[in-house]
Each structure stands twice: as structure tokens, then as C-alpha cells.
Amino acid sequence: MSVDTPVRPDPEAGDRPSLTVTTPNARRRALISRIMSGALFLAVMAAVTPLAILLWQTLSNGWGPFSWEFLTTIEPLSYRETGGGYLHGIVGTLYMTGVAALISVPLGLAAAVYLTERPKGRYASIVRFFTDVMTGVPSVFVGLAVYALLVSGSGGLGLGFGTLAGAASLAIIMLPIVVRSSEEMLRLVPGDLKQAAYGLGARQWQATFKVTLPAAAPGLTTGVILAVARGAGETAPLILTALGAREVVLRLTGAPQADIGLLMLDGFRQPFEGGIERAWAGGFTLILITLGLSIIARMIARRSQI
């Protein structure tokens, strides 16, 4: 057996193309690449700037008037007075958002499970069509529809303005978001897992409740929280349903309910320092609530195992 002495290539010899010699239009490609990167950076900045300005405005104007007092007292009767707070609005917003979530989350999850388990089911295309249309309906119109159906006594149920009517309109806004995001999350669950469950003798509902839903749980929670955050920030649909109140309202029906957004609307419309300051603090609170919900949602999403 002979041992070969290795022949190592000599880069100086020039008999093989060197790595330092580039192909003809390499310079041009590098230049285009750099221009494109710059353009993309500018585009990203253009997209982020409005958000940054918005956050900065709210923080700089809202931080000052925001206080413990703001969170724990209600607004004084006159917009001229400074001090006081949005306790009634915060209660109303959380109350209506909570009730809306109780309505829309189970319904939305059920619809999403139906869409994933029976993608070609008889009602699947109808459900998809309605969720698509509902996402596009202007939120003022949702308020108007709920007014006509629930609030108004002529032609509607005559429940009057209040928590339930407001929550119903928020639920309608949340519902398509819950359905869509949940459907996507459920689709991400690997078919392998369902097969495994069926292979062990699971019935369809058992596979759904014991495997699909738990496996998708973090993603579902994220989607649901984002939908809730979206609802919590809505004002337009509440104008005709919650109407607004000047004290803390705990009743579900029979009394108009307050809302942070509605209070801000009133505050900014008056030419008085006190009311405007509180409105900025209200905006700050709303951003805290929605931002807080989104952060929680992202943290849960990161724990997903699938």
C-alpha cells in the first residue's frame, strides 16, 4: 500500500480561478443591493414614525395628569375643574370588554373549531363569508345595528343604553377577529397529533378537546387577547349603545355606561384645561390597557410548543 504525498494547491500559480476575482457585474449587484437596503430602511421608518409620534404625544401629554387620583376618582361635574379622574370610564371599559369577551370568545372558538374540523362543511363557507364581511363593517355601523336591535324600543328589544348593549357591539367587533386568528392557530396543530389521538381510540370531540385545543392553547390565547385589546380600544360603536355616564355604573342593563373613549371624546370637545388634561390621561390609560394586553399575548405566544 503506497502513501501518497498530498499536493497542496498554490493560489499564486494562477491556474485556478481565485476567490478574490469577482464575476463581471458583481459591483453593480452590490450597489443595487445597498440602494435597496436603504430604501427598505426608509420605508420601515415611514411606517414606524406615525406610531412613534402617537405614542410620544400620548405619553408626554398624558403622563402629567395621570395619577393614582385619576385611576380612583370620577370626573368632577364641571370640565373647568382640574383633578378627578376616569374611574367610571375605566370600570365601564373593563366591564363591557369583559362581557364582550365572554360572549365572543366561546362563540368564536366554536366557529373556528367547526371551520377546522369540517373545512368543507355545509355552513363553513357561510361562516367564512360572514366573518370576512364583519371584519370590514365600519364600527359605527355595528353600534347603529345594535342600537336598532337591542337598545331601541321601537323594533328592537328595548333594553335601553347600557353595559349589555355596549358589550354586544364590542362582541360583534371582536368575533370575526377571534374566529380568524383561532382558525389559523388550530390549523397549525400538526395532523400527526390528531392521527395519534384517533389511533388511540379517541372520538372526534375527544381529539378536539384533549389534543387540538390544548396544543393550540397558547396561540389561541394570544389571538383572543389581541381581539379583546382591539375591542377595549373601540369607541365608535359605544356612542349609540353605552351612551356614556358620569358615575360608576355596575348595572348590566337599564343605565347608560361610561367608557374611557367616550369620556375622552367629551373632554377634548370642551375648551377647558381640566377636561383636556383628563382626556390625555384617559388616552394614556387606554394605551396602557391595550399595550399591556398585547404584551401578555406575546409572552403567551412565545411559550407555544408547536
Binding site: D192, A197, G199, L200, K210, Q305
Partner: protein, 294 residues
């Protein structure tokens, strides 16, 4: 006639009937003439996906407490056939099965038979280890809990893990996620999970194809060990594996129909594994095994 390779249907002269093992000089094993215990019987089983015939007219017996290997080129319908044995194909949209599959003499496709009950008796282990994203304990307890079992779960989980040769490796971390295990351990977890439902037939579709050689050997040893209690049907692309573990081997191939432009899986022959590997009746079997075809 060798009682192990013959059934009444072997005498059926239907022209479409797959070519089966013929009588041949008795080998050492054939001298053992004790009657075989047939656990599962396939009779003229065909499976269609919509208009496409995936496998046609397959008939053979699966013997109790033995390992039957299904081999053949890709696309010849091994997985399809395996899934018909516990009605997993019912879940595939558009799949239809004809012919009959009997388990302990009962037709599993009979109208009054609940497919869920079939799957509890005839378990399945998949090609890719697919533990649930739950704890090791919950993975194994999953099947029994479906039936409402609450008491004795601890013992059942331990026993199943022991049976799957995984207990010693996981006994101190039963509450950890099943996904935290290595691929080979995950596959043994899936075997434990299948065992926990207390089936007596276990179907395995290329259970080692995602595993390294050492993990593969462990699973093979496990299978041989399990064969005393369970009837195992395994699909494999690995000839050595079929030769190492199985008692009987069925060879399938793809039947091309140039007129109708389709490819249908058919059973070429089934026999004792030794016979298939050393003395196959059909030249196609020998060609495939020696690597000349497929």
C-alpha cells in the same frame, strides 16, 4: 399444503388473485406443523382514493403473536393497507375500502362495528414519533383516560413504559414534556402510549425510519420481545430490518396499467421471512430483495 401459508382462499383461481406462495420442499421450520392461530384476515381488500385504486385484491392472514413485515417499493400501498387494518383510512377524505378485514373472526368493517373500538384493539405507531405536547405521564395515560379510567393509572403508566423499555430512562421525569425526549425515546413513548390502551394488535408504519441505528436496534429488540404478547404488523423499507425482526414477510409491488394509466399496489407473495429472503417464489420478490428492481 403448508398450513401457515394456506387458507381456503388460496384455492380460489380468480385471475386477479395475487400470486401466492406455492408448496415447496419443507424447510426446517416448515416441519413444525402445529396449526397457526390466525388473528387478522384480509380478504380481497382493495382501497380507492376517489377514482384511484391504491391497492387491489389483497388477501392474507396475520398470525397471532408474530411479526408480519410488509415490504415493497414506494407507493405500492403498504401504508394504505396498514391503515385499513384499524380503520384509520376512514379518516382520509375520499378513501373507500372494499373486501373484508376480519379480526378474531369478526368483520371490522361490519355496520354495527364502531371504528373507535377497532382502534382500541388494534393500535398504531406512526413513522414520525408524534408524542403529544404533554407530559410523559399524560402521553401514556391519554388512551386509558379516553375511556374514563382514573384508578390504577400510575401502575398502568409504569407497566406500559416498562413494556416499551423506557421506564428506567424516564421514571424520574414523568412530568417533563414528551417532546423533551430524544427521537428514539419519543418513539418508545409512542409505543408505550399505544400499549397503554391494551390492544392486542399493533401496527407500525416505518417506526424506525426517523431513528439512528442504535435507537433502531432498541426498537427492533423491543418488537421481538413484544411479539410474545402482541401481534405486530410492521411496514419497513429496510430489508435487513424485515429479515431481522419479522416471522413472515409480505412483498407488494406496483402493477402498472399502461392502458388506464394507473399504478395499483398488489400483493406478490407472503411467506415465512426466511423463505421470502432466500427462496422466493416470484422472480419480482427476489429482484426487489437483491436490489435489482424497485
Amino acid at each position: 399444503m403448508d398450513p401457515r401459508t394456506s387458507t381456503a382462499r388460496d384455492l380460489d383461481p380468480a385471475p386477479m388473485a395475487p400470486i401466492r406462495a406455492e408448496h415447496r420442499p419443507a424447510s426446517a421450520e416448515d416441519a413444525d406443523t402445529s396449526p397457526v392461530d390466525v388473528h387478522v384476515t384480509l380478504d380481497e381488500v382493495s382501497v380507492h382514493y376517489g377514482p384511484f385504486t391504491a391497492v387491489r385484491d389483497v388477501s392474507f392472514d396475520v398470525h397471532r403473536n408474530s411479526i408480519t413485515a410488509l415490504i415493497g417499493p414506494s407507493g405500492c400501498g403498504k401504508s394504505t393497507l396498514l391503515r385499513t387494518l384499524n380503520r384509520m383510512n376512514d379518516l382520509v377524505p375520499g378513501a373507500t375500502t372494499s373486501g373484508s378485514v376480519t379480526y378474531n373472526g369478526e368483520d371490522i368493517y361490519a355496520e354495527e362495528v364502531d371504528p373507535v373500538e377497532v382502534r382500541r384493539r388494534i393500535g398504531m405507531v406512526f413513522q414520525k414519533p408524534n408524542p403529544f405536547p404533554k407530559s410523559i405521564y399524560d402521553n401514556v395515560a391519554f388512551g386509558p383516560r379516553l375511556n374514563g379510567t382514573k384508578r390504577g393509572l400510575d401502575e398502568l403508566v409504569e407497566h406500559s413504559l416498562q413494556r416499551a423499555a423506557l421506564w428506567d430512562e424516564v421514571k424520574d421525569k414523568l412530568s417533563q414534556s414528551g417532546l423533551s425526549l430524544s427521537g428514539g425515546q419519543q418513539q418508545r413513548l409512542c409505543i408505550a402510549r399505544a400499549i397503554a390502551v391494551n390492544p392486542d394488535v399493533i401496527l407500525m408504519d416505518e417506526p424506525c425510519s426517523a431513528l439512528d441505528p442504535i435507537a433502531t436496534l432498541r426498537i427492533e429488540e423491543l418488537m421481538k420481545d413484544m411479539a410474545s404478547e402482541y401481534t405486530i404488523v410492521i411496514v419497513t423499507h429496510n430489508m435487513q430490518q424485515a429479515a431481522r425482526v419479522s416471522d413472515r414477510t409480505a412483498f407488494f409491488t406496483v402493477d402498472m396499467d399502461n392502458e388506464r394509466q394507473d399504478r395499483t399496489g398488489v400483493l406478490v407473495e407472503i411467506d415465512q421471512t426466511d423463505t421470502i429472503f432466500t427462496n422466493a417464489t416470484d422472480p419480482r420478490t427476489e429482484g426487489y430483495i437483491t436490489g435489482r428492481f424497485g
